[in-house]
């Protein structure tokens, strides 16, 4: 079971994601955004960073990278697709997740650990957790304020103090089927107690378990 970790020009969290997935016992490999075949992989992660400089809008140009047709295909056949931070923004731009991410309510770049609560554990990101669980993982974003005028988004994780004004306090969102998830804070930066929290493990383990089950 192998996860592809996509690298766009400007992505900067890919090594952390590969390290985290491997240290949890998973197989993960970097894939350049110009690739067009993910058939050797069981799932895909779009990591954080500033893909294509975040020009125009966050994720607006990345969604047209050649690899995205394969990401769309994997999503459509039910394979796990996870976007973290900038990856979440790309999935929204691509229409794989509802809504969009705009500037934080107070226009501040927020970089600190945040507490989130599991509100839906029927997703690739949360299946190993229990509804009501509270975990602490680092948030590191300026455009983390999720808006969803359609009202169709399913919230998987909710901030307990909503630092960025996100609709419904959403920290993570999923599609109807639960195989696509976007999360704004970074689980891959919270997998070892020495880094301040190992709470990200339950989320990434959920993703790894989903690779097998999908």
């Amino acid at each position: 079971m192998r996860a592809a970790v996509v690298v766009f020009p400007g992505t900067n969290c890919e090594q952390d994601v590969v390290y985290a997935l491997q240290s949890l016992g998973g197989e993960a490999e970097l894939v350049w955004h110009r690739e067009t075949d993910l058939s050797e992989f069981d799932g895909v992660v779009l990591p954080g960073g500033f893909a294509h400089g975040d020009y125009l809008r966050t994720g607006a140009i990345a969604r047209f990278s050649p690899i995205m047709a394969e990401v769309q295909r994997m999503a459509s056949v039910g394979r796990p697709v996870l976007g973290i931070c900038n990856g979440f923004q790309i999935l929204c731009e691509a229409g794989l997740l509802p809504g969009a991410l705009i500037a934080n309510r107070d226009l501040s770049f927020i970089c600190r650990p945040v507490e989130v609560e599991v509100v839906d554990n029927n997703t690739i990101l949360t299946r190993g957790s229990t509804v009501g669980d509270r975990i602490v993982i680092p948030l590191n974003s300026y455009e983390g304020n999720w808006v969803d005028a359609s009202g169709t988004g399913r919230v998987a994780l909710r901030y307990t103090d909503n630092p960025n004004g996100s609709q419904q306090g959403a920290a993570a969102v999923t599609n109807e089927r639960g195989n696509i998830a976007g999360v704004m804070p970074h689980p891959e930066r919270a997998i070892e107690a020495v880094l301040g929290s190992a709470d990200g493990q339950v989320l990434l383990n959920s993703f790894l378990d989903s690779l097998v089950a999908a």
Partner: protein, 80 residues
């Protein structure tokens, strides 16, 4: 042809940047300011002879990439 694209966030979607600028204007004494929306303007030069055709192409660009239909509306003006 010169083309100007104005992309504006829909009124029902929050504009934190506009709100912050308005607050600063109020602090400076411009309390008559009632709304501030930070639109985006894109200037382009597009090859073509028929303004209607150019306009239709640029509107297509807006729908596909330049604007996010979830958040934004757009206007396309074709000049000389």
């Amino acid at each position: 042809m010169r083309v100007t694209v104005t992309i504006n966030r829909r009124p029902e979607i929050a504009d934190p940047e506009g709100t912050t600028v308005m607050r600063a204007l109020h602090d400076l004494g411009y309390t008559e300011t009632e709304t501030v929306r930070m639109d985006r303007v894109i200037h382009m030069e597009v090859a073509g002879k028929d303004p209607q055709e150019v306009k239709a192409r640029v509107e297509e660009m807006c729908r596909q990439m330049l604007a996010n239909p979830v958040l934004e509306d757009f206007e396309v003006e074709v000049g000389e």
